[in-house]
């Protein structure tokens, strides 16, 4: 079971967008309980995530309590309740990757981006997630960045990936300075 989620405030014009996507999904799928997952998936595909408002509207259309839709969305890993970053970083935590440093890679991203797994940077530039085996265990540890698979990701490569997106990496000195005294 997954933890509760705090919804981020909507952007300007996002409400309109949500309504449109929900309507579209409801036109494609009959508003029945059986179609709830396909409807949610389609809305998520359009918006990149499932805002609370969308779930409320879908619940109303299916004549069911919103909390049930919310319960379902939090039950399945596939649904995300927070907006995706412009660049989505997914760190593989499958068995093979975990054993050869997947966690180290995840921690590096957390450190560099200043967010925890499952979060999005406040500027919505990066989001960070963990995923189960992406089927490339041969190249473990694996990180999927915007659908592009990166193999053998060491901490140095983490920096390389972020730099390639123009993310300024705090130099070691700054990072160390923040943590306390500098190196002697």
């Amino acid at each position: 079971m997954r933890k509760g989620v705090v919804f981020l405030p909507l952007l300007q014009g996002e409400e309109e967008l949500i309504r449109k996507s929900v309507d579209k999904a409801l036109r494609k799928h009959e508003a029945t309980r059986e179609n709830l997952i396909p409807i949610l998936l389609q809305v998520q595909e359009a918006l990149g995530y499932l805002p609370g408002l969308a779930m409320e509207q879908i619940a109303a259309a299916l004549k069911m309590p919103a909390v049930e839709v919310y319960g379902l969305a939090t039950f399945y890993n596939q649904f995300r309740l927070h907006p995706p970053g412009k660049h989505q970083v997914k760190v593989c935590m499958g068995t093979a990757c975990y054993m050869v440093g997947g966690r180290i890679a995840l921690e590096c991203f957390e450190r560099r981006l200043g967010i925890k797994e499952g979060e999005t940077t406040p500027d919505r530039e990066f989001s960070l997630e963990r995923v189960a085996c992406v089927g490339c265990c041969t190249m473990a540890p694996v990180v999927v960045v915007d659908e592009h698979v990166e193999g053998k990701v060491t901490p140095t490569r983490v920096d390389g990936i972020l730099l390639s997106f123009g993310k300024a990496i705090a130099s070691g000195a700054e990072a160390a300075g923040k943590k306390g005294e500098g190196a002697s």
């Binding site: 068995t95 450190r111 140095t156």
Partner: protein, 638 residues
């Protein structure tokens, strides 16, 4: 018998003749087959494919570049097979764009097949070894993976030309009962984990009476370290479709579903395309091949919950509910999807059916062992040299699988354990390597066959950490219905976390064992009932590692972060090289007055980077456990 057997056969032969002609025409000129399953794409197969295509075009050659699935040799991706009339088909690995261009020029223009880059030839010949000349080829026997990596999954004719849908055409000329009888007689056991005989399951659905029935293919593949089902769907979707249609025919279903996890977009796309093509050819939908048997297949995308791989939870999630397992009986075969009789099988289970019907029950039963006929398909990963998708007869030993098929351990490390069956399975030590691979023997040893994930672990892997990893997984994926599964696993996880962090207590192991027993007994579905397996097997075979963590605060594999420190050996540090200093993400490494490098332990985040980047000539960075060893080392500093 449904409709006119002769007419059905005639229609099929016409399809076959058309497919044969197309494929023959294709291979009358050079063909380059590039492996573009997920594994290949990740390794860079798409740029390689483009490079081939570009080179072919630039040189104005009549060669065709096509996409195929996964051949199973994932360690050597990107892979391509080049077939040129007059030469044996040759498979090349570790490709990049440059090598691709060179192969086009050398092989296709200058008649030099560049044997130095070839891995293997597909057909017997006088010049280059074939699969059967390698140990792997000796042990491997492919039934489910037979066509994977050799045919274009996006072109139904490639499957038909290899005899695909022939079993369906022949079956439509027989009674459904004959198909059921053959599957029963084959003793085919379900490959989703439990090994339940497929024939009995199908028979139960037949006995459940007439009316609406469903066939569902379980492609949820939740084991976090396995990818066989995806590999099959991406590489040869038609074999699974044919198997499902045969099942539908045998049990009298007219509707079926592929339940594929949404994390597998490429598999979803390839199955969708395969279904469309089958429909166009009259192999799916109304009056298949002109018989009066109709069956429609659709895709349902699962949403990523491990428990939804469980049969009853899967069906509930298809009904739009939360995927929470239900008590059985009633079994799905009696009351499943929408309350109707439903046959649910794994991807591989269905994929066995066409070959069984084509080649006969006797043939199938001659492979493997008496109680476990056929083959076992594994995704072989971890610290093994040749990772990939492998298929060996049941009864092959783990040792043969790891050392002969997988070519032993990577990087010359020592073997420690093999993890089989994912979160429901266990870790087996060296002493268990000679047990044969089959449902029953593995269970006896404390692991399970599972759906086929096999991870090889070496001396650098901590057994407590891996037990904790799997328990964390099941704990998060527990649907929360059963108290023992929900709270018992949480309690176990807390204890394991404490142990890996050096806060274990002497009585912990006993408590773990008691909890494991309770969780096993008190859970409704197999998620909970098998969740303690990784812990129990590691406790059984690697108890000394737990004890080292608890009593000495030491991690023998040097993996648990809280129990290790990084240290730079002054005797080995070169002084002049600055690589570690530059690689440290938190500036914990500094240069001492005497030029040697040292680590500020306060700042070190144990990211392992300095150890990885220190040039092999020096290898000066080491890990110490327990952390107390550091004082000893530093005392001895020059």
């Amino acid at each position: 018998m449904r409709g006119n057997a002769a007419a059905v056969q005639e229609r099929y032969l016409k399809l076959k003749a058309g497919a044969d002609a197309r494929v023959k025409a294709l291979y009358s000129e050079p063909v380059i087959r590039v492996g573009t399953a997920t594994c290949g794409i990740a390794a860079g197969a798409l740029p390689v494919k483009e490079a081939f295509a570009r080179a072919v075009e630039e040189k104005g050659l009549p060669a065709k570049v096509i996409e195929v699935g996964c051949m199973g040799h994932c360690y050597a991706e990107p892979l391509a097979i080049i077939s040129r009339p007059g030469f044996p088909s040759l498979c090349y690995g570790y490709l990049d764009a440059e090598l691709a261009a060179r192969l086009v020029e050398d092989f296709l223009i200058n008649d030099d097949p560049c044997y130095e880059f070839a891995l293997v030839a597909l057909e017997p010949n006088d010049v280059f070894p074939t699969f059967s000349d390698f140990p792997r080829g000796v042990y491997e026997q492919k039934i489910v993976l037979e066509h994977c990596g050799f045919i274009d999954p996006g072109d139904i004719d490639h499957y038909i030309a290899r005899g695909g849908y022939g079993a369906l055409a022949a079956a439509l000329g027989k009674n459904p009962a004959e198909v059921l009888e053959a599957v029963k007689a084959s003793h085919l056991r379900g490959r989703g984990g439990a090994g339940f005989p497929a024939g009995l399951k199908w028979e139960a659905a037949v006995k459940a009476g007439s009316g609406e029935k469903y066939v569902i293919c379980n492609a949820d593949e939740g084991d976090p370290g396995a990818f066989m089902d995806r590999g099959i769907l991406e590489s040869c979707p038609h074999q699974v479709i044919e198997g499902m249609l045969l099942c539908a025919y045998a049990v009298g279903a007219e509707k079926g579903y592929f339940y594929i996890r949404a994390e597998y977009p490429l598999a979803v796309e390839r199955v969708r395309r395969a279904l469309e093509q089958a429909r166009e050819k009259g192999l799916l939908g109304k009056d298949i091949l002109g018989s009066d048997f109709s069956c429609e297949l659709e895709i349902f995308q699962g949403s990523g919950a491990f428990v939804c791989g469980e049969a009853t939870a899967l069906v509930r999630s298809m009904e739009g509910k939360m995927g929470i397992p239900a008590t059985r009986p009633p079994r799905l075969a009696e009351a499943g999807y929408r309350g109707r009789p439903t046959v649910l099988n794994n991807v591989k289970t269905f994929a066995y059916v066409p070959p069984i019907l084509n080649r006969g029950v006797e043939w199938f039963r001659s492979i493997g062992t008496e109680d476990n006929p056929g083959t076992a398909v594994f995704s072989l990963v971890g610290k093994v040299a040749h990772t990939g998708l492998v298929e060996v007869p049941m009864g092959t030993t783990l040792r043969q699988l790891i050392y002969d098929v997988g070519e032993g351990l990577a990087n010359g490390k020592a073997f420690k354990a093999v993890q089989i069956g994912g979160p429901s399975g266990g870790c087996l030590p060296e002493s268990a390597l000679d047990i044969p691979i089959d449902f029953d023997s593995l269970q006896e040893a404390g692991a399970i066959m599972g759906s086929g994930g096999l991870v090889v672990l070496d001396e650098d892997d901590c057994m407590v950490a891996i037990a904790r990893y799997f328990l964390e997984f099941t704990q998060q994926e527990s649907c929360g219905k059963c108290t023992f599964c929900r709270l018992g696993t949480k309690h176990m996880l807390d204890i394991l976390t404490r142990i890996t962090e050096g806060r274990g207590e002497p009585q912990d192991l006993e408590i773990l064992e008691e909890l494991a027993e309770e969780v096993r007994a008190g859970s409704l579905c197999n998620l909970g009932a098998t969740a303690p397996n990784p812990v129990l097997t590691t406790l059984r075979y690697f108890r000394d590692e737990y004890e080292a963590h608890i009593f000495e605060k030491r991690c023998p594999a040097l993996m648990c972060k809280e129990l290790i420190v990084y240290y730079i050996e002054p005797q080995r540090c070169s002084k002049l090289c600055n690589v570690c200093v530059g690689s440290c993400p938190v500036e914990a490494i500094y240069t001492r007055e005497d030029g040697l490098k040292a680590i500020d332990q306060e700042k070190c985040v144990k990211c392992d980077n300095c150890l990885k980047t220190c040039p092999p000539d020096y290898n000066a960075v080491i890990k110490l456990s327990p952390p107390g060893l550091l004082a000893e080392k530093e005392g001895k500093r020059p």
